[in-house]
Point group: C2
Chain length 243, copies 2
């Protein structure tokens, strides 16, 4: 299928220690799907320079687009910008346009631009800034990598800035059928359906509510007419059990 493929790199000890439950992956996955971009892989790595550089190189080489989340704040463990610069062999220094945007914001907020905050204006050479309407300190794009903040409100605002600049594919469509049957009872028909419609993705998601077993069947693809046809075929294959 012709959709661009993306990867995401989540950077942060707090996710891996269990302190923080990441929400950026789920948000980005939904936004990319709407935009016709297929999220093909996610990695989560700790705040260790070599690990970030290695993951960035692998994901950037293996996918059309990469989105990163986390590690661009003012403190000593915010090392993403330097790791991205290293991965691309680019120099990194304070950039005047980034500093100016931040200075204007801190002046308005009555805060001082200290040495720690100035680190957030360090941008790899050749990168384009990503607007941060929440707290000014920008993200940036270099090569096929979009570098964004980990704080969810800022991450989401940056995704909103970046997505319109990207060329998506055909929107990824889906239809859902909720069946009051256990997954193991419909696996045969689902396999037959998948064989009959190789261009579609047929997923099944079992659940149990109040002791009753059921399964949500989701048919995904780019061709709405084909999804309609597959859904009709599914209803014929499994006449009982629709809830």
């Amino acid at each position: 299928m012709g959709n661009p493929e993306a990867a995401m790199l989540v950077i942060g000890d707090e996710i891996l220690s269990g302190r923080t439950r990441d929400s950026n992956m789920h948000f980005l996955a939904g936004e990319l799907t709407k935009h016709g971009i297929r999220l093909a892989e996610v990695r989560v790595v700790p705040d260790i320079h070599e690990r970030i550089v290695e993951a960035l190189r692998a994901l950037s080489a293996g996918h059309d687009l990469v989105f990163t989340s986390g590690g661009i704040g003012p403190t000593h463990d915010d090392i993403t910008a330097d790791a991205v610069a290293a991965a691309f062999g680019a120099a990194i220094d304070v950039r005047e346009d980034a500093r100016a945007v931040m200075q204007e914001y801190y002046d308005r907020m009555g805060r001082e631009m200290n040495e720690a905050r100035l680190r957030m204006a360090r941008i790899p050479e050749g990168a384009a800034l990503i607007d941060n309407p929440i707290s000014a300190a920008p993200g940036f794009t270099i090569g096929n990598v979009h570098v964004m903040a980990g704080v969810p409100s800022v991450f989401q605002a940056m995704v909103a800035s970046v997505l319109p600049t990207l060329t998506g594919g055909a929107p990824l469509l889906s239809q859902n059928l909720n069946l009051g049957l256990a997954e193991g009872d419909i696996a045969g028909p689902l396999r037959a359906l998948a064989d009959e419609f190789p261009g579609l993705s047929i997923g099944s998601y079992p659940y149990q509510r109040d002791g009753v077993y059921g399964t949500n069947v989701v048919i995904r693809g780019e061709d709405g007419a084909q999804i309609d046809a597959a859904m009709g075929r599914l209803c014929a294959l499994i006449p009982e059990g629709r809830t």
Copy 2:
């Protein structure tokens, strides 16, 4: 630090499409931390054989332990067991002890053991079964890889079965200080603290509530006395702002 390092592999199109928000990563991260095992990397891959095999080989070679989540159900897109077998060059077939446990459960539930459900008794040669007290179909351990279900209740029960069999390191301890100060205002002292206590991990997590900025500082490590000392030093470095 001497703790064993683990990686996690989450398998499933539904996570990458944004349909389902994964919860197993956050659960496992917390359990491993309590058990003195450091979660060092997470990858999420789609239901594609080659991607699963490739990720399994990389994670198994690079870490002491690997935990997988998802893709061991009865339907055509449940391909994890075959991918694990391929990654280890092991044969895979229905195993009698797995089949027997499932047969007993289906008999009790008044369900039939059909061809689709029998797939869940296919276990790579040489693997040890992981008990599934929820829905019988077992997980398994082969080499340093623990293969578990994606349904959160089953995943959690399997983690509870596996963890007591693993040798953890010293428990990973942490202390938290909530400061009513923006992250950029305390980054200098935090860096000084990190330099003074190189054996500890000093994390800072900014937040904004009702327009007020604050930062949670978390000090993590294995040595409780050292964490106490660092926390005392932090309070001396930042006398104002404790909430």
